[in-house]
């Protein structure tokens, strides 16, 4: 893929939460969308890059449409993107997606189970509903 192509993609940024299943689900949803469902239009970005102020990452942020996926109300992904000057197309809160799909309860942080995988799919769907697939 040429660099130009990469920089035209929509960016998905999951939170880095390691304490709860929702954090794992955020990342699972990101991989699902950016590696399987639609890698042509969506790419992932590593949240800690923003935290450390990586110039390249921030530059890319400023010229892209961003989707954040947060596992808890602290909304680390959303807050970090905003602080870095990025414009968010849509913020996804895992808890809200679960509330709309109550059967898709995830398992544990180490194994999100079938429920968690379905929830990840629901999240990917929410993103493509907004950003197009």
């Amino acid at each position: 893929m040429s660099k130009r192509n990469e920089s035209q993609k929509k960016i998905v940024i999951p939170c880095s939460g390691i304490g709860k299943a929702f954090g794992t689900v955020s990342r699972e949803a990101t991989y699902l969308l950016t590696e399987e469902l639609n890698p042509r239009e969506y790419r992932k970005m590593c949240l800690p890059l923003l935290v450390v102020g990586d110039e390249e990452a921030i530059k890319l942020l400023h010229s892209s449409e961003i989707f954040t996926i947060d596992g808890c109300p602290k909304q680390c992904a959303t807050v970090s993107v905003r602080k870095s000057g990025g414009a968010i197309r849509k913020e996804i809160l895992v808890a809200k997606v679960l509330a709309a799909n109550k059967d898709h309860k995830p398992g544990t942080v180490l194994d999100i189970g079938e429920g968690g995988r379905l929830l990840a799919q629901d999240i990917a769907n929410e993103i493509t509903a907004e950003g197009g697939d």
Partner: protein, 277 residues
């Protein structure tokens, strides 16, 4: 609202600086939560000063439009400070005491706006009675607010004038763990003691809201629709469920007071907390 760090500017060549400093001192006299900051110490990053600055709500009093106090606070990393400027109109007020009070009043209005924005008028007025009974069980800490009544279903009731507000106890929110959805019944619904009135779901389980008093629903906590985690974060405050008009206030006799409840809750916690569902 917690500690406040009031930072007057250091201006001495204009009246605004002096008024600002005096107003800060007046605020500190009136409110033990206020610490008066020093622009020089903050600039030099004296450790005690920086600690106060970082652990408090910062309020800058700028003596003129150059706004040195606000600029310094921003440069030292504060993004959510409040600021008041001593304007010409304040400087023109007759009498130094009156001028001082006018500035202190502007600051007071600022805190009120922030408090009411954060909590809106949903919080009951006497909420700051934050007296809790606390018990430790293994690695869990149980909090029981003293002024409330509790049912054996682990819901609390707070008398507010003629009405009663209800919510989940700290034990219950801990047993439930991360709540992601709350469903509340309609305003106007009549309920009997023991009835299920809505419910909430967490990743672990689903729990019914069992009312600890009979009555009619006057209000329900709409905040929980978008912020269900409030039940976990603040079960006795912003995580409340309903405000009810009780049929008979004497029904509260069926409930436990805080010290009776904590005994019950500790026993229950030993069996319930830490259990894998």
């Amino acid at each position: 609202m917690g500690r406040k760090y009031v930072l007057p500017c250091a201006g001495y060549d204009r009246p605004g600086g002096k008024i600002g400093r005096e107003a800060a001192e007046l605020l500190a006299d009136e409110d033990p939560e206020v610490v008066v900051g020093s622009v020089a110490a903050l600039f030099a990053e004296r450790p005690g000063e920086v600690k106060d600055f970082r652990s408090s709500q910062v309020i800058c009093i700028d003596g003129c439009s150059v706004k040195c106090a606000s600029k310094l606070a921003q440069a030292r990393g504060n993004k959510d400070m409040l600021a008041v400027e001593v304007t010409d109109s304040i400087a023109a007020i007759e009498g130094s005491e009156e001028r001082r009070s006018a500035v202190a009043e502007s600051v007071g209005r600022l805190y009120q706006k922030t408090i009411s924005k954060a909590t809106s008028d949903i919080l009951p007025k006497d909420f700051n009675d934050s007296a809790f009974l606390i018990e430790k069980i293994d690695k869990f800490i149980l909090k029981v607010q003293k002024s409330l009544y509790y049912s054996d279903n682990d819901f609390w009731a707070r008398v507010e004038g003629e009405d009663v507000r209800i919510g989940a106890s700290d034990l219950l929110q801990q047993m439930a763990s991360d709540i992601f959805f709350v469903e509340l019944a309609e305003i106007g619904k009549k309920v009997e003691f023991g009835d299920d009135v809505g419910g909430f779901e967490s990743t672990k389980t689903a729990i019914e809201i069992i009312t600890p008093i009979s009555g009619t629903i006057l209000e329900r906590n709409e905040l929980l629709e978008n912020n269900p985690e409030l039940v976990n974060e603040n079960p006795y405050g912003t995580g409340w469920f309903y405000l009810l008009k009780p049929d008979d206030i004497d029904e509260l006799e069926l409930l436990k007071d805080a010290s009776e409840y904590i005994t019950y809750a500790v026993e229950k916690a030993k069996h319930e907390l830490g259990k894998k569902v």
